[in-house]
C-alpha cells in the first residue's frame, strides 16, 4: 500500500492506495457495492483505466475538497473518487466505467484518511487477491478504452502527454 498527502485539504488525512491482482471475489464485492454496504469503507477502481498514481491522486484530492465544502455529487466519498476519474457528469456511467465489474480481476483500493495499518488490514481482508506494487500497473493499462473514454487525440502518443490529457479532462468536468 502507498500513502500520499492531500496538499489542498491537509486535514482530510492521507490517500491510501493498494493494488490487487488475481482478485477472486469481484462478484461479491460488486454486490455489496450495489447494496450500499456501509462496511465497505474504500473505493475500488478498475486498475486498467489508471495511467498513473497521479490520476488517482487528483480524483481523490477533488473528492476530499468537495467533501470539505459539502459539495459531493455522489452519495459517498468513495464513489466520488470514482466519479471524479470520469470526464463526464453522468454518475451512473462514470461508476460503471471506472468502478469494478463482476469480471474484474485487478483493482486498486483507494481510501482517504484513517490509520494506514488499519486501512491496509481492512483492504486485504475485504479483497481476495494478491497485493502488488504500483509498478505492475504498466502491464495492465487498457489504452484503447482510455483513448475512448477520455477522447484522446490520436496524435497524442507519449505517456506523459496522455496522462496530462486525462488530468485536464478530469479537471474540466465541472467547468465545461
Amino acid at each position: 500500500m502507498e500513502s500520499y498527502p492531500i496538499e489542498v485539504v491537509p486535514n482530510a488525512g492521507d490517500v491510501h492506495m493498494a493494488c490487487f491482482i488475481s482478485v477472486k471475489n469481484a462478484p461479491d464485492l460488486k454486490e455489496r457495492l450495489q447494496a450500499q454496504d456501509k462496511s465497505l469503507t474504500f473505493a475500488m477502481v478498475e486498475s486498467n483505466l489508471i495511467m498513473d498514481v497521479v490520476q488517482l491522486l487528483v480524483a481523490a484530492t477533488r473528492a476530499a475538497k468537495d467533501n470539505d465544502t459539502k459539495k459531493l455529487s455522489t452519495q459517498s466519498l468513495s464513489s466520488e473518487i470514482i466519479y471524479n476519474l470520469s470526464p463526464t457528469k453522468n454518475i451512473a456511467e462514470s461508476l460503471k466505467r471506472f468502478g469494478i465489474t463482476e469480471d474484474t480481476t485487478s483493482l486498486i483500493a483507494v481510501k482517504i484518511g484513517g490509520d494506514p495499518i488499519e486501512v491496509m488490514e481492512d483492504m486485504s481482508k475485504t479483497v481476495d487477491g494478491i497485493l502488488v506494487s504500483f509498478s505492475k500497473l504498466d502491464q495492465e493499462k487498457d489504452i484503447k478504452r482510455l483513448r475512448q473514454y477520455y477522447k484522446i487525440d490520436p496524435k497524442v502518443t507519449e505517456d506523459k502527454d496522455i496522462l496530462n490529457w486525462i488530468i485536464g479532462a478530469m479537471a474540466m468536468k465541472n467547468v465545461q
Binding site: Y4, V53, R62, I167, A171, M172
Partner: protein, 217 residues
Amino acid sequence: MIPDVQLIKQGAEARVYLGPFCQRQAIIKERFAKAYRHPTLDKKLTSRRVIQEARCLYRCQKALIDTPTVYLVDLDQSVIYMEYIPGISVRDYLVTEPGQEAEAQHRVAVAIGKALGAMHNIDVIHGDLTTSNLLMRETSGAVVLIDFGLSYVSQLIEDKAVDLYVLERAFVSTHPNTEVMFAQILEAYGESSKASKQILKKLEDVRLRGRKRSMLG
C-alpha cells in the same frame, strides 16, 4: 491554502504560487477579492474569469498547443492548480542573452509564430501577449503559452489582430532591435494561421490607430 508554497508572482488580479500538488510541482493561481467591488458582483466576476481562463487553457491543450495542463479548478477559492513547466520566459531569454546567434533567435520566432497561429485557429485570443507570457521549456526549448488570465474566445479578425499588436508593442518597448525577430514571428504566423492574410492586413490598420478602436462615427 496549501502549506509550503512559494509566492512567485503578484499581479493586479491574482497571486501565483509554486507548490506541491499530487506528487508534482504545480502553479497555483489564486484570484483574490477586490475590496472596491460589491461582494456579490465580485464573487460572480471572479469565478467567471477563473472558468474562462481554465476553458481557454483546456481548449488549447485539446488542440495540441503547448500550454500548462489544468489540474484542478477550485471555484470556491477562485484557484486554478496547473502544471508547472520549468523554463525561462522569452523576455529573460532576450534580455540576458541579447547577442544570441541569429539562427537561434529565428528558431524561437518561428515557434512563437506557429503557436500563435494555432491558437488563433481555434479562436482563442490570449489578451495579454507579452514576452513574459511566452515560456521556453528547459528540456526542449519548445515555446509554451502561459497566463491565460485575460483570454477569451472570439472569431473576430479584429481581436486576433489586436492580440498580435499587443505582442508587437511588448517586443518593441522591452527589447530594442528585435524588429527582425518580430517580422519572423509574423512570417511563421502567416504560414500556420488560417485567416492570416486578413489578420495581418488588419494589423496594419491597428498599428495606425492603436489598440483601442475609435467609437466615433
